[in-house]
């Protein structure tokens, strides 16, 4: 009897994890604009401190949601990057490029890069402006 109790407790607490999960492309919908997420370079994810997961089809959708609901507390801010689609990186360490030559799903032309070197290389090719996470939040009035 006790063995079952231990197993049940373990299962219950496992379901309360606050880890990010992989995004189901072509199935998941953006929490902000409801569009189906298909773009593997621009999709993002937020995890609240209670483990609730919100996915977005673009970085700008995540930023608009953060702006409209400032009271929600998040444990993880994750973004896809140009260098490695489908692999979620930390938003705070990523570098952001806004360039008309590199469009993003909701019209902000905003793409994340894993590091500043790769971002600079692409900026040299196509132009645009680079932002850190804090500067980007400032730009979106967060």
């Amino acid at each position: 009897m006790e063995k079952y109790l231990v197993i049940i407790i373990i299962l219950v607490f496992r379901s309360c994890s606050t880890n990010p999960r992989a995004i189901n492309y072509n199935t998941d919908n953006c929490s902000y604009c409801k569009m189906t997420i298909v773009d593997q370079i621009h999709a993002t994810e937020l995890v609240t401190e209670k483990g609730r997961i919100k996915v977005y089809d673009a970085i700008e959708c995540m930023l608009y949601d953060l702006k409209e609901n400032p009271s929600v507390v998040y444990q993880h801010y994750k973004v896809n990057t140009y260098n490695a689609p489908k692999i979620l990186e930390d938003a705070s360490t990523s570098v952001y490029l806004i360039s008309e030559e590199l469009p993003s799903p909701m019209g902000a032309n905003l793409t994340a890069f894993k590091d500043s070197l790769s971002a600079l290389n692409v900026q040299k090719e196509i132009g645009g402006t680079l932002y850190s996470w804090s500067k980007l939040k400032q730009k979106f009035n967060l």
Binding site: N26, K34, M35, T36, V38, Q40, M106
Partner: protein, 394 residues
């Protein structure tokens, strides 16, 4: 200076590729491509030309894109173009235009394109009577049928788009007419437009698309005589409107969709003479909608005719036909003598807890819906149709 005709033929020893004809041609020439299979890619057109195919097929063999229009007044018609390469990073297309005004793309057939027709910054063009067939699936990485970006004054008519990712995708596209197209069985949207104003959408058919049709952030839109049907799925909408202002949605049919019309943050839209039949939800109004008018529409046999969130906000429902209406018409004027409240109590419960949909058609839900009808407590007082019609109008 007169324009000449160049003929490309597989039988010819001198001009048997389209590439060679492009090199020979001067501005405003006509290139006739005769019957045959051409294995060519990366055909850049840098001068005004008319290129007409007579049963010619271009197979890109999944190596790249085919036509790149980089000058004004180029016309491409009659081709069958197959097997475009797909990619995560670049949107490779069968036909791609960049700053190429006054283009015509007409009567072509596209099989297995990644992107079929992609228009960038090209004004005053015509995309007409093309057939686009993809084999996109949920698992595959697929492209869009007609994808237009920052281009105005276009005519997009008579095209068939089937099983792509998005059938017709417009972003920053103004003053265009999109009519008589059929967009079906696409993985995501039959039609999607954003930031596109002053456009007209008429007589199109959108059927069985994974997420239906979604339109956002646009104003001064007319949608008339379109058919939105069979868009089923957890997040599938006949027509999703987000931040749409000053629009006319008239004479459309919404048939057998999960949600016929979903509207969020949209204002000053006239919904008139539409038929909403056999949908899960006929109309779902989420927050932020103002000054919308629903008049002369037929709501027939929807599981929920109307779901409504938010304040009244000067939205009005007047003179519609509701199949759920059980009132009487003693003065025989065709209009019911008592007002109709279209929002059922059960729809509030489903909005808060979607899983309770499983109770639809249960006796308990019928009882609470009936009691709310008799004595409304939860549904907003002013949300009613004061003159509900006895018979459907359309």
């Amino acid at each position: 200076m007169c324009s000449k005709n160049i003929t490309v033929s597989k039988a010819s020893s001198s001009i048997n590729t389209i590439e060679s004809a492009l090199l020979l041609a001067n501005a405003h020439d006509t290139i006739n491509v005769l019957e045959g299979l051409y294995l060519e890619t990366e055909l850049h057109i840098t001068k005004p030309l008319t290129i007409i195919a007579y049963n010619a097929t271009i197979d890109a063999e999944f190596k790249g894109g085919v036509f790149y229009l980089e000058a004004d007044s180029i016309s491409i018609s009659g081709f069958t173009i197959n097997n475009i390469k797909s990619s995560h990073i670049k949107d490779i297309s069968a036909i791609y235009t960049y700053k190429a005004d006054y283009f015509t793309i007409e009567n072509n057939i596209f099989n297995l394109p990644f992107f079929a027709i992609q228009i960038h910054k090209s004004q005053h063009g015509i995309i007409k009577n093309n057939f686009i067939y993809g084999q996109a699936s949920l698992e595959s990485n697929s492209g869009n049928g007609i994808h237009v970006w920052h281009s105005n004054h276009l005519e997009i008519s008579g095209n068939t788009v089937h099983q792509m990712r998005d059938g017709i995708y417009l972003e920053f596209v103004d003053f265009c007419t999109i009519q008589n197209n059929k967009s079906s069985d696409n993985v995501r949207y039959g039609l999607h437009f954003m930031f596109s104003n002053n456009d007209q959408y008429r007589d199109n058919e959108f059927e069985n698309n994974g997420a239906g049709v979604a339109v956002m952030f646009s104003k001064f839109i007319t949608m008339q005589n379109n058919i939105f049907k069979l868009n089923w799925g957890g997040a599938s909408y006949g027509l999703l409107l987000k931040e749409i202002y000053d629009a006319e949605i008239i004479n459309n049919t919404f048939y057998q969709n999960t949600i016929g019309i979903y509207s969020e943050g949209s204002a000053r839209i006239n919904y008139k003479n539409n038929i909403l039949e056999s949908n899960g939800w006929g109309v779902k109004i989420a927050g932020g909608c103002y000054l919308n008018i629903f008049k002369n529409n037929d709501f027939k046999n929807n599981a929920f005719d109307l779901s409504y969130e938010g304040r009244m906000n000067d939205n009005t429902f007047n003179n519609n036909y509701w199949s759920e209406y059980t009132g009487y018409d003693l003065d025989r004027d065709g209009v019911g003598d008592i007002p109709f409240r279209p929002v059922k109590l059960f729809s509030y419960i489903v909005n808060r807890t979607p899983e309770t949909i499983v109770l639809l058609r249960s006796l308990f839900i019928d009882i609470i819906n009936f009691s709310e009808k008799v004595s409304p407590i939860f549904t907003p007082d002013k949300l009613q149709d004061l003159k509900p019609r006895i018979k459907p109008i359309n």
